[in-house]
Symmetry: C2
């Protein structure tokens, strides 16, 4: 998905939030924003939003130093999701269609997203997503692909959401490789975050080797690129993975909540829509 | 109120929306945005947000030509508000405290605001505002000031909101001067819009002589400045009037809904809070 002019204001907002998370004072925040404004003037709109976002966050880090600005946000999100595990397992136990319910739970977890907004309500979201009709629903093609795939590549999105992913992975019979970011970007899950959610109990963890948002294949490590190329089935979580992989063909299934109006329009669904879409 | 770094993303969003309202194609929209990004790099944060907004919208007009991009938005808003008039009059007729209810209705009309978001629901907002407790309530000082004032200066905000203002003006015994913008800016009311809402039946219409958002006194005409200086009581509607006149002393009463998180924080109220505040 290419970048829209509507994305500019979001890049500015995200840069400011990241600078604040890194503890920058107002003077430093202003310097960061000025750099971002300058960079946005030369945007190539054919790039995906995560490619631009990557440049923006790189600027923030250049100015303020490396770090993991969303560390405490991510730990809190993971702890809160872990606390829900018994209730989520009960939901799954009572499910009429296990895969449908597990997919919904995984999509419910996608409400955790510091790139869109920093506050969310987890359990009410679970309840909504369990009863809300899908805006796009490729459940049967996913069921078929899961039955055929010798191995599944699962692209993680955010910390905390990882706990919900773990439940879906437990429903998948084939071995699963769970790919996480190579370094901190927004509240995206890294190896450390996936371990805190204990996803390593049910899947093999693999770093993409990139700390850009989404999955920009060219920026990923050779080992990851190879796993991606060999995978017959890829489950891609969240908006940024849709933005970066929407042209990657039918082996990719996108699971997300359409939180951003631009992405919702690109997908042809309402904001808030539940999406399980085959690429 | 000074400009916050949080305002940058809103300026970018507003410029894009205004360019689209003026019918610019994507190429032109991009040129406008690049100009705005350049201008924002040199922002003086001690200016009020409407002063910066004025520069931003001036840039849009420089690039795309003069016009009234929100003309149809304003006409629709006014028509919809006029259609509610019988129901609003019924609410007033049944009011226990006429001034309290009229102030609430006037604040309910402040939901119409293209600067914040382009969609709103009018009647549900009226119902909410009638029952919601005020976040700041200087009703008794306003009642006293109205009893004493020989004349009232009423600073309008948006087209459509004008219809709600008309009901409050009908409850004021002293003669009222209703000040509107000197030219189109966002969906702010001009003389034409106030006439469509028939505010001229109950008040003397006066142009501020400025097409900047809010009321930037230095930009207003000499006749308006004189009326403002002589007024013992000023009713100022909406966020932009608060942003520009918050330091103007006790003769100004601000009536608004806190729709923007930055303004809400400045006022010390939650987003969505109802504000009747003496300066």
């Amino acid at each position: 998905m290419h970048t829209y002019l509507d994305c500019y204001s979001c890049f500015v907002r995200q840069a400011l939030e990241a600078a604040r998370q890194l503890g920058a004072d107002e003077q430093k925040q202003k310097v960061v924003l000025e750099g971002v404004l300058e960079a946005l003037k030369d945007i190539d709109l054919s790039f995906t939003p995560p490619q631009i976002g990557d440049q923006v966050h790189r600027l923030v880090r250049q100015e303020l130093g490396d770090g993991d600005p969303y560390r405490s946000f991510k730990e809190t999100a993971t702890r809160e999701a872990l606390a829900l595990l018994p209730r989520l397992r009960k939901v799954l136990k009572e499910a009429e269609d296990l895969l449908d319910t597990a997919v919904r739970l995984s999509i419910a977890g996608n409400i955790i997203d510091a790139g869109v907004r920093s506050s969310y309500e987890l359990w009410p979201t679970v309840q909504r997503v369990l009863s809300q009709p899908f805006a796009v629903e490729d459940l049967e093609p996913l069921r078929q692909s899961l039955a055929d795939a010798p191995k599944v590549l699962y692209l993680a999105d955010n910390a905390g959401e990882t706990v919900f992913d773990r439940l879906l992975i437990e429903c998948i019979e084939a071995p699963v490789v769970y790919a996480v970011k190579g370094g901190p970007i927004l509240n995206d899950a890294t190896v450390e975050d996936a371990q805190m959610a204990e996803v390593d109990r049910v899947a093999q963890l693999l770093s993409t080797g990139s700390d850009a948002p989404g999955t920009i294949l060219d920026c990923c490590s050779k080992p990851f690129q190879q796993v991606y190329a060999e995978a017959s089935l890829v489950i891609a979580k969240g908006q940024a993975n849709y933005e970066t992989l929407s042209e990657q063909g039918t082996k990719v299934f996108f699971l997300l909540q359409a939180k951003c109006p631009v992405i919702a329009r690109d997908l042809g669904v309402p904001v808030g829509g539940l999406v399980l879409r085959r690429g």
